[in-house]
Symmetry: C2
Subunit: 210 residues, 2 copies
DNA sequence: AGCAAACACAAACAAACGTTTGAAACGTCT
DNA sequence: AGACGTTTCAAACGTTTGTTTGTGTTTGCT
């Protein structure tokens, strides 16, 4: 095991508990006792609870953004479809978590919480640190749907982001309901396909005259 | 003013503070001091903090569901377009808050928090109490897009719900960004139009072969 | 071996939390 | 007026929170 497994155990446990209960609802004592480390370890290694939250985010986002950026550069100047770009995000998310679909869901759940909770100082942090990757992705999207004006695209991307975060946040519950109501047991990949089709349809929607 | 203005002042203040900071992050002391009432008033009038949260929800949802149900019955067996149904939700939300767009945003922000936070016992409460109105609305949607299978529609409605909650949760921030980046100062109505177009496009998207 | 830095640990800290208490103030009856 | 139920209020309750402290223990370097 790694030289400092305490740090990793804290990060892993915090990630899971934050996603399950939320930030404020998860105490350091719950994290440390479940992780099997001393209570003071959090403040020793991370400084504070808020710094822990940022560290949890950063660990995923770093991996995700690096991989996404690589793939975007690999595409060079190729023309890529809207669906391909959306799938890219999905696949990169999964790959950045070493194929663990459960952790992908956890991360998006965290994103949703972080996006709405916490006065947005987390959002500013993300924008400053990974804003350029996001901008690069946005330009690719614009190439894929040249008929949609930049401002329209801005809004639609955020609409799509909402769907994604919301869906992946509660995917387990939704899949359970789906199975109960329709008898269809969908895998995570099936949901992804449906979501991407929905998002592509929305982003491509013709602008209606007002 | 009403006979019991204490209850209303608590509800109003709690609604705003919950939306701003989240449930766990908002203390009863913050609510009561801002509302200008005694700390013990919450437990006296509502019983507990959790009961307060439910009361805040119920006040809006009751008004919303009653109005939505009325409008749905008024439509009788008319054929209504998908866009018209989505607009109906939007207009009903605004009407149920007496035209106060700020409070509509607050409510959707609360919905988003309630949907992800709190182990879902709030979601169960909503489903039990207002599930039939939701079902009735869903049947109308199905009529509007008969080509989409029921299960597909189930998923797409939840995708749409995610977009809506997420967007209206952070609409103010997004509008500020939009103004800064594009110089376009959109009103809440403009965002609604764009959101509805996006949702309609997504819900109507053709199912792709897998 | 010996020293210093890094880490783990139990214990305690002050602050904030939701909730309860008992008495004061209020309005409404007969 | 007096008595009653309702509401308000300041104060305190017992927990739980994040953080800090002091003291061991381990680790790596010379």
């Amino acid at each position: 095991m790694p030289p400092s497994s305490t740090v990793d155990r804290i990060l892993d446990t915090a990630e899971a508990l934050f996603a399950e209960k939320g930030f404020a609802e998860t105490s350091l004592r719950a994290i440390t006792s479940k992780a099997g480390v001393n209570l003071a370890a959090v403040n020793y290694h991370f400084g504070s609870k808020e710094a822990l939250i940022q560290a949890v985010f950063q660990r995923f986002l770093e991996a995700f953004c690096v991989r996404l950026d690589e793939k975007l550069r690999d595409m060079a100047d190729d023309e890529v479809s809207l669906e391909a770009l959306l799938s890219l995000v999905s696949h990169t998310s999964v790959a950045a978590q070493q194929g663990d679909a459960r952790r992908v869901a956890i991360f998006f759940r965290l994103s949703g919480l972080g996006y709405t909770q916490g006065q947005g100082h987390l959002r500013k942090f993300l924008r400053e640190r990974y804003g350029d990757v996001f901008t690069r992705f946005l330009m690719r999207l614009q190439q894929a749907v040249p008929d949609v004006s930049p401002m329209e695209l801005f809004w639609r991307v955020h609409f799509a982001l909402g769907s994604t975060i919301f869906t992946l946040s509660g995917m387990d519950s939704l899949r359970a309901i789906c199975k109960a109501d329709f008898g269809d047991d969908l895998g995570p990949g099936d949901v992804d396909k449906r979501l991407i089709a929905f998002l592509a349809g929305g982003i491509r929607a013709s602008v209606q005259a007002s």
